[in-house]
Each structure stands twice: as structure tokens, then as C-alpha cells.
Symmetry: C2
Subunit: 239 residues, 2 copies
């Protein structure tokens, strides 16, 4: 019993319903816990993994904030996502058994480590878990479709409005304020994710501020008029 307690992670986790074990029964979570490794701390600025690292485990963000960065040979980098509590890291590595991007902590963070071969075995005997995981992979595909839409078809203002609303919604989902947020990433990071330069991001934030949609003080952002901001996500209001 004590052994169980030592290894137990998800069973007593406050964000269990935001994470991989969402929807599983207590018994199932218990079983999952027996295959989890302990929590691992990742200080701000550290890499959780890098391109080319062999793939052994998935990671679930337990606390903190990450970015994933795709590096191009000629030095350019593209941020492919920002991950917060409950979200999985490393899904891109399953295909080739090697990580295909860098994962960097943007603040002091912690992750739960999920050895993938054990996880796959567990999926064989736990249909619920396998189903959840298929859905998580599919959700990531949907998210990326939406980013493609954003990058391929939207103007800068729409991109930023989408980004901010998405961020606010994810905060809300985690019972954090969706009105006042402190951004964990630089303007350059936001720009990379949105396919814009940092100067453009800065100007847009100033514009939203001037128009009374936001209050912006450095990385502190307060959403003053969510409806108006939400409208900026589409081209409709230009017509």
C-alpha cells in the first residue's frame, strides 16, 4: 500500500480531469499511476527535450508553461505551440522514435513522465485509456488545423485576437482568470507562433490598448472588452 502511495501521481492530482486520465475510473487511474514515473522539475529556460533526442516518454505538463520550437536549418525557428497544465508534450516523436522539435520551459515548470512503451501496453488492456489517447492525438490535429487556418488565411489583427481569446479560454478552463493574464512568452515568441514579427505584435497590442479592448503593461494583459476582441477574430467587422 505504501508502495502505491509512493508511485501514485494522477490519483491525487488536482488537474486530473484536465489531463490524460480525464474520464477514467479510480481503478483505472490507479493502474495508470503504476506506470508513471515521478514528477520532474524543469526550471525556466531549460529544455525538456531537443530535436533528435531519442523518444522514450510522453510528458504531461503538471505546472508551468512550455513552448515547442521547430528549427529550420537556416536558423529560422517556428513555434508550433504553447503548452499549459494538463497538456501533453512529445506526441510528435511517436512517428520516428525521435523528438522532432525542442520543448522549452517558459517558467519554472514540472512534468509527469509517461514511459511510452509501458503506456502502449497499458492501452492494450485499458480500452478507455487508449480511446482517450486517440482523442488527444486527434485534438492536437484539430488544433493544428486551426493554426493553419490562422496562418494561411488571416490578417495580423485577426491572428492576435484569436491568440488572446484562445489563451483566455484555456486559462478559464483551468479556473484561472480569463480577464487578467500574464503572458509567459516574449513578443517575439508570439510573433513566431502567429507568423508575424515582434514589432507587428507590439504595434497590434498597442492598437488594441488604444481602442480600449485591452490594458497592456508589458506582459500583463487585461481583457477589457472581450466581445469586441472576439469580433476582431474575423473579417466580418470590416464589411
Amino acid at each position: 500500500m505504501n508502495l502505491h502511495d509512493l508511485k501514485s501521481v494522477c490519483g491525487s492530482c488536482t488537474i486530473r480531469e484536465l489531463c490524460l486520465p480525464a474520464g477514467l475510473s479510480d481503478d483505472e487511474v490507479h493502474l495508470l499511476d503504476q506506470h508513471m514515473e515521478h514528477r520532474q522539475v524543469v526550471p525556466k529556460g531549460d529544455y525538456l527535450y531537443r530535436v533528435g533526442d531519442p523518444f522514450r516518454s510522453l510528458f504531461a505538463v503538471s505546472s508551468g508553461f512550455f513552448k515547442t520550437v521547430l528549427l529550420h536549418e537556416d536558423g529560422r525557428g517556428q513555434i508550433t505551440g504553447f503548452q499549459m497544465m494538463g497538456e501533453l508534450l512529445g506526441l510528435e516523436a511517436i512517428h520516428s522514435d525521435h523528438h522532432m522539435c525542442d520543448a522549452v520551459a517558459l517558467e519554472d515548470s514540472a512534468v509527469c513522465t509517461i514511459p511510452f512503451d509501458q503506456f502502449e501496453q497499458l492501452g492494450q488492456v485499458m480500452a478507455n485509456l487508449q480511446h482517450r489517447f486517440n482523442k488527444d492525438l486527434s485534438r492536437e490535429i484539430v488544433r493544428e488545423h486551426n493554426v493553419m487556418m490562422l496562418l494561411g488565411s488571416m490578417r495580423s489583427e485577426e491572428r492576435l485576437a484569436n491568440f488572446l481569446i484562445d489563451l483566455a479560454d484555456r486559462h478559464a478552463h483551468r479556473h484561472q482568470s480569463s480577464v487578467e493574464m500574464t503572458l509567459r512568452m516574449t513578443r517575439e515568441d508570439i510573433g513566431s507562433y502567429l507568423g508575424l514579427k515582434l514589432e507587428t505584435v507590439s504595434r497590434l497590442l498597442s492598437r488594441f490598448h488604444d481602442e480600449g479592448l485591452l490594458e497592456v503593461r508589458g506582459r500583463r494583459v487585461k481583457i477589457l472588452d472581450r466581445n469586441a476582441l472576439a469580433l476582431r477574430r474575423t473579417e466580418a467587422h470590416h464589411q
Copy 2:
């Protein structure tokens, strides 16, 4: 035995190694076949599925060519991918049990239908199949990361060069000529996928033509200088 033959699809399929059953044993493929529905024809221009359709099955492209399109409320559309022989369609629908984009045949095509609930059950008893499928989902995530890089960080010329080389490689992988290809999609489709307008795509093709990289006659494209074209994928050659 005859019953088996009737239902058999993958077992005798010429593109088996390009598709879901790649790497499975004959026995395993045989088992998979028992859960496949028959091939379904999709004439050019028809929808295989539309946004909002309930999700029942995945599809494997057996022959032909598809595009998947994400529609935005304000009428804009973003093409999220082009699928050829052996590639899976419908992965985005697992998350919400509803299709999240339209899938349109760009030429007369055929698909194999894979009822997803049966497929998941089969995955429970066939670790190899489940593993293959996890990899397929992960590969789709990697592909989309690359598109994000393309849309977020590359100039128009680089985008088109990447697109053409990727298309050529996928043809080669299917033992089709990677030198002479006929594009299945319009300039507008290419533009949508690459985040460009059709006029830009047209101009770029003309430019590549003038520079001796390609021979372009309508939708017929012949790659004359693959190396030079490959160089255009990065910014390096501008330095």
C-alpha cells in the same frame, strides 16, 4: 474461405505497404480485412464527408486524390492537406465524433472504409496495429508542424518549392514519376494550402519556368532541375 475472399481488401492490395497495414503480418492483415468495409468510389468533385457529419469511419485513399478544407464562418476556406493513395482521411474527427473539415475528391477516387469502433477494438487485441496507428497520428502531427513552419516563416518562393518537392517525393514513394506530374488541384487550391493568392502561385510557376527549373503547361509540371528547385526551399541561396 470464399467468405474471406469476399471481404478481403488489404490482403491483396498493391499499396498495402503504403497504407495502414504496412508492416503487419499476413495473419494480421487478414484479421484487419475482416473489419474493413468494401471499397467506395468517390467521383471527382464529390464530398467524402463534410464538416459536422457524424464520425463513423476512417478512410484510406485507395486511388485518386483528395483535399481537406477547413471553412471559416466568414466564407474563407483553408486547405489543410492533399491526400493521395495510402493516406488516411478523417483523423481530425476522432476527437469530437464529428468531422471538422470537408474532404473533396479532386479526381475520380476510391477509398477503403474503416469503421472506427471496430478498428479500436481490433487495436486492443493487435498491438502492432495500434502501434502503427499511433505512428500515423503522430506523423500527421509532424506534417502539420512542417506546414506551420512553411506558413509562418517562409517566403512565397520557398513555400512553393517545398510544395513541389514534397509532391514529387510522395509520387516517387508511390513509384510514380517524380519528374513529370500532373497537378490535381487548381492554382487557387495550391494558394490556399500555401497561404498565397492564386495570382502569386501563377507568377511563381512562371518564374520557375523562366529560370529553367520547371516546365509548366497548365497542370502538367516537369521538374527540370531538382537540385536548384530544392535550394529554393530555404533562404540560404539569397545570402
